[in-house]
């Protein structure tokens, strides 16, 4: 069974597939146009105890996401 978890729960180095973005239209569209579309793979590059996290989307983009924002993105963990 696949498990949907918020992106913020991924550990550094883990990769997940975007299932759903739980946010209002504006923010959802912004994320989509920056490469966070459904089904795309996203890897956590940097994550520390607090503050924003750094993720990789579309193979090479580095995007910094606030923790609140990252908890609105649901992903399926890839083994």
């Amino acid at each position: 069974m696949t498990k949907e978890i918020p992106l913020i729960d991924l550990k550094e180095g883990e990769t997940g597939k975007i299932i759903k973005i739980l946010a209002g239209r504006g923010f959802r569209m912004r994320l989509t146009e920056m490469g966070f579309d459904q089904g795309s793979r996203i890897t956590v590059i940097g994550k520390s105890g607090y503050g924003p996290i750094i993720v990789e989307v579309k193979g090479s983009c580095r995007i910094a996401l606030g923790r609140g924002e990252a908890s609105k993105i649901l992903v399926e963990v890839e083994k």
Partner: protein
Amino acid sequence: MAITIGVIGNPNTGKSTVFNALTGRRHEVGNWPGKTVEKKTGRCRHEKKWINVVDLPGTYSLAAYSAEEIIARNYIVEEKPDVVVDIVDASNLERNLYLTIQLLELGANVVIALNMMDVSKKRGFAINTKKLSKLLGVPVVPMVASKNQGISELKDAIIKNAGKKRKALFVDYGPDLEPKIKELSEHISKHAKKIAEKYGAKWLAVKLIEQDQNVVRMIKRADSDIYTEELRKFIKNTEEIYGENADIEIADKRYGYINGVIKKTVKCAPLAKIRRSDKIDCIVTNEYLGIPILLFLMFLLFQFVFLAAEPFVMVIDNIVEWLGLNVENYLVSMDSPSWLTGLVVHGAIGGIGNVLVFIPNIALLFLAIAVLEDSGYMARAAFVMDRVMNKIGLHGKAFIPLLLGFGCNVPAIMATRTLDNEKDRMTTILINSLIPCSARMVVFVFIAGAFFEPQAAGLVVWSLIILSIILAVLVGYILRKSVLKGPRAPFVIELPPYHIPTFKGVFHHMFDRTFEFISKAGKFILVVAVVIWFLATYPEGVEYGSSESYIGQIGHLIEPLLAPLGFGWKGSVALLFGFLAKEVVISSFGVLYEVAEEGTLQSVLSSEWTPLQAYVFMVFTLIYVPCIAAIATIKQETHSWKWTAFAIVYSLVLAWIISYFVLQIGYLLGFG
């Protein structure tokens, strides 16, 4: 006939480098009508043809969620440029093509400038540009703009393709959406002919399903029947079918299309796991090291700016003096009336000279900003400071503009352009003038030096800096909760790979910004300089700045207002002079007490005031009205007299209140 082109692209694709390379820097900076978004236009000549180049705002998409996106979209649709040059980052092809696809859907005559081919190669991508061009149906010019490679080829492609009509690209939106899109577009082309011709019926239909508010409004105006209960139901149904909103489904299909194109055109060698940028990020965004590194870099930045500015300040000082003397001699030799000589020499040249000495600081701060931006560090600074700024209700990106205020508020206010959220930006602009710039530091050091022992003087200046930070935080917090209330802008920023800024790039940036400031603020400063000179010199026959002069009379007039703070008319007059530039406060004391030498002035002041009064005066100087250069910049950046007036009034009121409190507390503690 000249060719007109629009240059568009994602942020961080080297768009401004391409623009500069195309126009050879012959360009003008303005604003898009009614917006605070900067508009750059320029021109170049190629193959005996003129090309007008319009720089469109950097944007990820053509949806209508930000001012930038709407400007770009409207320009393409309304102005119909002969060519739209789409700058695509070759190392980031998939994401960048999302914008490209939307341009093609609009039927724009696109020429793709595939920039950063060198970076792309280094990352292991091999892009078949010929095939890419064939699949997308538009020319693709590979280039490395930072090394000037491909610019001439791009110009060739622009001339060759100018004015070509292109059929809009149709992405297949799948069996569920396509029939509906067809139905809607038929309806639109029948009932809303005008806009259908302009935008394309199918494009409008897709936007309608996407629920693009801008388009929905436009269609409703032209064709009120279309937005029926049935359509709303359909959109809702798609959501049920896909378990997703229709707009997401459409975006997915676009990415699907892009994926197909990428698979056929790009070969990708396995990427090295850790890139250099990631390694650097590991250190500079580290939870313990991030802030110390940021502060250290900022310390270096200020050291550099002030050290490097010093010789230029001296040169400017000498030039102003030389110019004043020579113009005066010339005017006297021409028998010009004494009022004219005074106006030109003391009013205009002398007054502007007061502001001009800050130009080196301003220019070097712009240079520093350009280095921070072009190197990629600016985004990391926002990253590191977001947690702290978040606490006071501001975005991480607000930190650097605030910090730069310690140098000069003018470049600092202009640096707020990186904030996309209007309310965040306005707040950052309004609290920026609370950060004491170097001109105010000069006043503090001078007055503190006059009234306090050397060790205590340092502490006094420090206490003022701390006070300014506390006030900026508090006022920012209050503004964000009251007049500038609104949801916090989400923190999502791209971290572009680090690279070493080019000499050309950062110097262009510095010159552009500095000239922009001089050309926009120059006239304000001239007017205020002349007015202040007039007030200090007239009525006829009075001594400059004396009690009988107009400015002295105004000083007497506002004295009662400032009396509770204990400034007296001379203090009030000095503050009026400070409106031109804060450091003028000191020289005006010199005039008022009729002493030229600074040391003597310090002892005269200290015999006149108590240390507490001096401290209160410094507090007032810290907070009250930004100088004229800063006010002109606030007006230019906010495009609003209302907010400019607000900045002046609130700072005056706040200055009075805080000064009064400090005075009372001082009394209570037994000072003064």
